[in-house]
């Protein structure tokens, strides 16, 4: 006969496995919430720079691959973009400083109008070619080729045509210098 006061014994699986599973779940959740966000790196780094042909503000065709053999800095910007305004004087000066290494600076105006891009170039004395992104033509769809998700974005391409560094967001003096060094532009 069963003793009336006997306490029902807990199944060992219930006793240990359930708390362990719950603990593991909470630990995974905590790790996911607290781990530092992954550094935003472009899928293009280390790969050949996608080519494009775009119209300059003067209306002539400019093909990126025509600069092969020289370090190239491609800067996606827009006249309506605040951080682009902040970095424009830095880019203008860097273009002058790295001229001895025959470095090419190229501005790609994204989602912009040519007169506004021209005014931007003149206001900030950008002494390098500025082209207009053109998403209607396959050859000109530079924003997709470079998978940009905002402006500004800057790509540092070495003389072999490889994207050495991509910077999402505004440049600062340090990142600009590092990028230029990486492609042998200074």
């Amino acid at each position: 006969m069963q003793n009336a006061n006997s306490v029902q014994k807990q199944n060992p699986i219930q006793k240990f496995v359930v708390p362990i599973v719950l603990l593991a779940f909470v630990a995974a959740l905590g790790y996911g919430l607290t781990k530092p966000a992954a550094v935003n790196t472009s899928s293009l780094e280390g790969k050949p720079a996608p080519d494009f042909t775009l119209k300059t503000l003067e209306g002539t065709d400019l093909t990126l691959s025509s600069f092969k053999g020289r370090p190239v800095v491609v800067n996606f910007f827009a006249s309506w973009c605040g951080p682009c305004v902040d970095e424009a004087p830095m880019l203008s000066q860097a273009a002058i400083d790295s001229a001895a290494k025959k470095t090419v600076f190229l501005g790609v105006a994204y989602s912009d109008k040519a007169p506004l891009a021209k005014a931007f170039r003149d206001k900030y004395n950008l002494g390098f070619p500025v082209v207009m992104d053109d998403d209607k033509l396959e050859a000109g769809r530079s924003s997709v080729k470079y998978a940009i998700t905002g402006v500004p974005e800057t790509f540092f391409i070495d003389a072999k045509g490889i994207v050495v560094k991509a910077i999402t967001g505004p440049l600062d003096a340090e990142s600009l210098q590092a990028g230029l060094k990486g492609i042998g532009a200074i």
């Binding site: 006969m1 009336a4 899928s43 989602s111 998403d135 924003s143 998978a147 940009i148």
Partner: protein, 146 residues
């Protein structure tokens, strides 16, 4: 006679071209619904009106026109933007966890609930010793006498 035949041929070609365009449009729409707008919250490039989505949609249309396969087009966007560009993760590799985890949790929960309910329904009343029963009966009788 020649005029009638040539008219029929033109009509036939026009019909074929229309049907081909409709099929291409349907493919574009179906594929575009699977591609995420990279700057939006869970919107496909057909639902979003950003310039980025428009550019991606134009790229997708060109690739469909060039006769690329669905997989090749998806792979192109993944190579550019990463796997996050796909609204539905592929049902392979580590992405299987995303699809499998809810099912595992659902079936696990159902099994736990079933097991709990079965145990609860099988629970028997604790047996009472006859000595105790006798004691209670006596107490009841005494209280009735009073």
């Amino acid at each position: 006679m020649i005029r009638i035949l040539s008219s029929l041929l033109i009509l036939l070609l026009a019909g074929f071209s229309l049907a081909q365009n409709a099929a291409e449009d349907a493919r574009v729409q179906a594929l575009a619904k699977q591609i995420r707008c990279p700057i939006c919250q869970g919107l496909s490039i057909t639902e979003s009106s950003t310039d980025f989505s428009r550019s991606m949609l134009n790229e997708l249309k060109d690739r469909v026109k060039q006769g690329e396969t669905d997989d090749s087009i998806r792979d192109y966007f993944v190579s550019k933007y990463g796997r996050v560009v796909l609204l539905d993760p592929p049902k392979s590799g580590s992405d299987l966890i995303v699809w499998g985890a809810p099912l595992v949790i659902l079936f696990g929960g159902a099994a736990a609930l079933f097991s709990y309910l079965r145990r609860a329904s099988n629970q028997t009343m604790p047996e009472v010793r006859s000595a105790s029963l006798e004691k209670v009966r006596k107490q009841l009788e005494e209280s009735q006498k009073l």
